[in-house]
Symmetry: C2
Subunit: 471 residues, 2 copies
């Protein structure tokens, strides 16, 4: 792309296209929806302009990922993140408080996997990482032959042949769905349930292929969900390159033994907190529009996308509303939930807290799909509530939101639904999320300042109009 004239034509074309799209989309809305969108168009533009000019969300994320870094639930860094994000919101002049909770405290320790007894073969290095909640191996590790399977059916068919072995779930994430969460859903079962399925047949440990579409040497963590009725066996993820190498070696050598050593362990539960900041509503302060993400992260990277992005977008949404001089009628509240990754207890504790009795959450907007380019919103609630919120689509289109569909919140806001809160889920593009998810690649440099800010912008606009107009 070189010539000025061509660039002007294309820029113009895109602008015209957006205009045509907007006018076409009006066909969907009622006359009153048009009026409402027009009523808030100037506010939305102010928010968008202020956001794209400042890229402030990225500055907040830079602080969170460099001053604190990884924030594993229960860790000292998670406690530091509680203090830092509250301080950020204090600096911005919001009303802030902490809501104390108790959280699990699992620690990683040293970990390794080495191929042994491989006469005459060069052993590939295996990049592994313990899955969250994994029990440790005995000191000195577990040394056992590896059995590769590509499904639970294949595992079950092996029957007692896996007894005492290390089961290697080598199931690739399906690259063909556009929405990578679909591919993730198909593969992540082996990470969460593989250990207990293997234990049921007497396996000694499991190695699980990392759930990512990339072929690289970064293992991706995540939680293992042990069946309480079965023995807990050590569970680790292996990088996709490591999985490919191990699989190739099994084909070539026939049998391979691995020594797996994990020193992870679970400590006593520890005090922590959900972090809250808000702009109090001028007319209905007890009615709350929540925006939020989760503050804890995995420990291999710095939790930049998962979910530092959601946290700073929530803070930035409030900052943009404040900066543009808007005075919401209802309270707009940013919540940084603790302990999403080890069971989402922060979200449950928030919904159950005594404080909730004196207030009503009309909507809760969660951002926990990374800080990528915004494309849509998923909305829960009744058919009528959905229709009323969907009508704001026209207002959000100039900021890049191209659809509003049925859907809803995530792990943290979900418990609020029981008391009638409408759940709203921010949906950015998913093409790259699982490249970095739960791995050492989830760092600041994988986040783009404009993409991150655009998420904060559409969250601010949506939260503001809901605070003004209700649902």
């Amino acid at each position: 792309m070189a010539l000025l004239q061509a660039q002007r034509q294309i820029g113009l074309a895109a602008t015209r296209a957006a205009a045509v799209l907007a006018s076409a989309a009006l066909l969907f809305g009622s006359a009153s929806a048009q009026t409402r969108a027009e009523k808030y168009a100037a506010a939305a533009e102010s928010i968008r302009t202020a956001g794209l000019r400042s890229e402030h969300a990225y500055k907040l994320l830079e602080r969170l990922t460099t001053e604190v870094g990884p924030r594993l639930t229960g860790s000292p860094q998670a406690a530091a993140a509680v203090a830092l994000t509250r301080a950020m919101m204090d600096e911005l002049g919001f009303e802030t408080w902490l809501e104390p909770i108790m959280v699990q405290h699992w620690v990683r320790g040293t970990e390794s996997a080495a191929i042994v007894r491989l006469a005459g073969q060069k052993a590939p290095a295996l990049a592994i990482t313990a899955l969250g909640f994994s029990v440790p191996t005995p000191a000195g590790g577990i040394t056992a032959p590896v059995v590769e399977v590509r499904s639970f059916e294949e595992l079950r068919a092996l029957g007692p042949a896996v007894r005492g072995r290390i089961v290697f779930f080598n199931v690739s994430m399906d690259p063909t769905p556009m929405d990578t969460f679909q591919g993730y859903g198909g593969a992540v079962l082996y990470r969460s349930e593989g250990a207990s399925e293997a234990a049921r047949q007497g396996a000694a440990a499991v190695l699980v292929r990392s759930v990512t579409l990339r072929t690289d040497d970064h293992p991706h963590a995540g939680m293992v969900a042990y069946d309480p009725k079965l023995p807990k066996i050590p569970a680790a993820a292996v990088s996709t390159l490591g999985a490919d190498a191990l699989s190739a070696l099994l084909k070539k050598a026939g049998s391979v033994e691995i020594r797996l050593e994990l020193a992870c362990r679970e400590l006593d539960p520890t005090p922590s907190a959900n972090v809250v900041g808000q702009i109090r509503g001028t007319e209905k302060p007890d009615e709350v529009v929540l925006v939020g993400g989760h503050l804890d992260s995995w420990d291999l990277g710095t939790g930049a996308h998962d979910d530092g992005a959601g946290c700073v977008q929530a803070i930035e949404a409030l900052r943009l509303i404040r900066e543009t001089g808007l005075k919401p009628k209802r309270t707009i509240r940013a919540v940084m939930f603790m302990n999403e990754e080890f069971g989402a207890s922060g979200g449950r504790d928030y919904a159950a807290a005594d404080r909730r009795k004196a207030e009503r959450h009309i909507a809760a907007l969660e951002s926990d799909r990374g800080g990528f380019l915004p494309i849509g919103f998923g909305i829960g609630g009744t058919r009528e509530q959905f229709a009323r919120l969907e009508a704001w689509g026209d207002l959000l289109k100039p900021s890049g939101i191209l659809w509003i569909g049925p859907g809803g919140g995530g792990a943290d806001t979900g418990p609020l639904a029981a008391s009638g809160t409408v759940l709203m889920g921010f949906v950015p593009d998913s093409q790259k999320y699982f490249d970095v998810h739960h791995s050492s690649l989830d760092v600041l440099s994988s986040v783009h300042p404009r993409e991150l800010e655009l998420g904060a912008i559409v969250m601010a606009i949506f939260a503001y109009v809901v605070a003004q107009e209700g649902i």
Copy 2:
């Protein structure tokens, strides 16, 4: 994002949202459009599945950027790229040929800018690069005081005060439009026209702030458009960090002298070629649907996004059609245009070539906005032609295309419009394009395999249905 249940819910929500969107969108289309979209839904899904599974476009781009690298018009590397892309298409079994053309041949040579006569001040290093077609400085460079301006009005107001000086256009790209091409359009005028505007007032040379939204030390090249009625003066881009440092120094020191040395020069025109590959139509072989990009690039990076992406997407679109067993009725042709960056002569020569007399291009689909996430298509032609093409939106939605709007092609396909060809422009997301555009950052690692492939997928689907159904 941790819990499986939440992930399933969100994945499901997104799927439902897409379904709702698709059914809502059918309201726009006629009954026949529905039928047409349904008729090709299986073909579109095959193309998408084959593409996302293979990520083959990225493999082609890896070859182009590593086996050849940068491909400045007229350079030996551009000639190597002609041979390589033809060979790629020969390997894939397409009918291929070259269409010889003559192109300009500007070469960069050594270049530097240093701050001089700065008593007691530490001189900041200035990262600069000559603009394309810039004349050289005399050997030993031009040493002159710098005059900073932020608009042409400011320049004109200075009158003869800029005589013999180096004019420094320090105009930032506006970050506030969603479509970054709009911000680019506002700032790039100083790069293209600044030299002649400064020469009109007797300036010795110009330095132009790089046109990017990032603050970094990578200068961004691009062509200077000299007014033939005015003296040609040397013109270079300075990195945004360099521009900020120079501006700060001017404020602090009052006056600053720079020695600018550029050894670039224009050589004699040299033979080159547009590269063509095609799948011949089974029923109307003389009616052509063109997909293409430009093969030449700037020389600082490897032209991965601009426009290696467009070239490999065109090849990959044909490969996907071939791989999925489709037999287009009309010819689908991939064209790698030469010399877009130095005046788009390849596109003009292609449209004017004798071969065109024996065939009719019904549509020309250009990809020259980078290999980023697809979001839309801009379509030219008459109102009726636009409406017929817009009706394919439903077919493209499951592959991520969210709008089809008025617009059209770019610099290379533009000349075909005169003979009735409908121009179609592929529009990916623009948030990151100018971060890398014309700079050393435009390399393979800035391209994502899925995003690149999705562009090839939607181009393949659109080209195929136009080849089957006409316009």
